[in-house]
Symmetry: C2
Subunit: 327 residues, 2 copies
């Protein structure tokens, strides 16, 4: 299957060029060149621009003919970039998408402050769309995102993390911005409420499916195509669904293993092997795969209110494509 995100990228090539122009203009600061340098390092690093594409696509699904969706798409990409900069500081990451992170190349201080700067630029861009409804949506999304990030931080190495908490975390760290991206595209088109809800749901379910897939691939992925090391979440004590479910099902002896491997962070050479063995035993990888597929279907079904169109087909294919890596 062709990557439907690439199809969207070529369908909306002109719009995305405008988005890129705005991003470049707004991340330029004459008095403080480090802002431009650090932002460009991250933003022009060849990310897929999936979130701004969703805003453009969503506006088009509602036959929007104005230009405010361009600025909103740029605002969404800036929010995403700001959270990546802060995430990498929080996680002490040295690599992202195979490249050195900004906090590694510059320093934590610059990453924190340039993240704040990009967030403020995103704020300026969204004000320019002149819609209180859009602003309210993005304010709420921002709050949900940071609440999710903080919840994730407090769940590190915490064996009692429940599935409920896990879903709250991924609603925040991933689904909130995906759903805001599609929702604001619909709001700006001044469409009826049901259409806004349909597109918002599409974004939300796609985001959940995206994160579940990512969390599964962390255990099952092929390092080359996944671009990250297998078992990183496990080593960092990040509790994701495959692990949380395994811990829930574990015998008391197995719980001892989890305590040593995760809570006490004891160096166990074969820790990942054993973890995978227990996950396999309780089918938690399959369980996670099924959850991802469920949300992929839900994303797809959200679009059923729309008449047939090529764009609708592409968005449905995107939902399938996300889980094709694990299916």
């Amino acid at each position: 299957m062709d990557n439907p995100a690439k199809v969207l990228g070529s369908d909306f090539e002109a719009e995305m060029r405008s988005v890129d122009r705005i991003l470049n203009r707004y991340m330029t600061s004459d008095s403080t060149p480090i802002i431009s340098e650090l932002s460009r390092h991250l933003i022009n690093a060849g990310g897929k621009r999936l979130r701004p594409l969703l805003t453009i696509a969503s506006a088009k699904m509602c036959n929007y003919s104005g230009v405010a969706h361009i600025k909103l798409a740029a605002a969404i990409e800036f929010i995403h970039s700001a959270t990546l900069l802060h995430d990498d500081v929080v996680d002490e990451s040295e690599k992202r998408r195979g490249k050195s992170t900004a906090n590694f190349l510059w320093n934590n201080q610059s990453s924190v402050l340039v993240g704040d700067y990009l967030f403020s630029k995103s704020f300026q861009l969204m004000v320019e769309a002149e819609s209180l409804n859009v602003l309210s949506t993005l304010a709420d999304a921002s709050a949900t995102i940071s609440e999710g990030e903080i919840l994730q931080l407090s769940a590190v190495r915490n064996l009692n993390t429940s599935q409920e908490v896990y879903f709250k975390i991924i609603e925040g760290k991933t689904a909130a911005l995906f759903s805001a991206a599609t929702k604001v595209g619909a709001i700006i088109a001044n469409t009826e409420k049901e259409t806004v809800t349909a597109l918002m749901n599409y974004g939300r379910f796609l985001g959940l499916c995206f994160q579940l897939t990512d969390d599964l691939l962390d255990y099952t992925g092929d390092e080359e195509s996944f671009g990250k090391k297998i078992g990183d979440d496990f080593k960092e004590g990040k509790l994701t669904l495959p692990l949380i479910r395994a811990i829930e099902k574990s015998s008391s002896k197995e719980r001892e293993f989890w305590k040593n491997a995760i809570q006490r962070n004891s160096p166990l050479d074969d820790g990942l092997e054993q973890a995978l063995f227990i996950m396999d035993k309780y089918d938690t990888l399959d369980f996670t795969r099924n959850e991802a597929i469920k949300y992929s279907s839900k994303a797809s079904e959200s679009l059923d209110v729309f008449p047939r169109s090529d764009l609708k087909d592409t968005l449905k294919e995107l939902a399938s494509y996300v889980v094709s890596r694990i299916n």
Copy 2:
């Protein structure tokens, strides 16, 4: 002289109680208690609430009779708190107002993320005021603030920092939020443009005067009443006006001293003594004092468009009070 900020505090006791209620409600998160704990540690630490008081006072100067100024005042305090949390991470501070900082008590990660959270809550509060003009003002202020913070970071230990760069830094780190605080109070009252400008200028000049005074006290203050150690800026390589002006005036031999003490960060026991000696020689402390007094007068004069009132008198006294510590 009675502290006019205290006079404002008792004049607007009811309003400030409402502000505090909103702050407490918005910083509470049931799912992530660390948000409430860390935010309360900072926000209920007995800060003067000067910025929200300015928003309330500004709205009252325009005879505003609604309630949106309460939410805006809370939004301003949250922006301030978010920048303090991030500042303390950037500066690796262990103390603020005599208390341990959040990054010291918790960790940098939590301070970064809770800062983001408070910023997002401030964003929600300002959307509730339902004024695009207010939102645009606060978006611009946020961008100016983070630009100033980044500029300050790149000026650390940089002997070529000019007076122009210094003023750009303090416009960002201090004056931008003071002027936004007074401006939004006037905007929400739907007053004429000249009145908005007058109050915005009052806030801006007061902020500049406030920061100049603080930077001067870092060299001349009495540790007990100032609450910080003398010479901290010098030791941390932060170039403020007294130092920048001294470096500009210095002989080549004196420049060698600055290079050793600041740029190369060599430990010199009598470094601060020598620095003060050179500043004295070129009258740069007096120069800074005069700048602070100039902005105090400008703040006061900005209010001349208003008819006589007790509140106007108090605001003028506040401008005088700020420099009374150095005068």
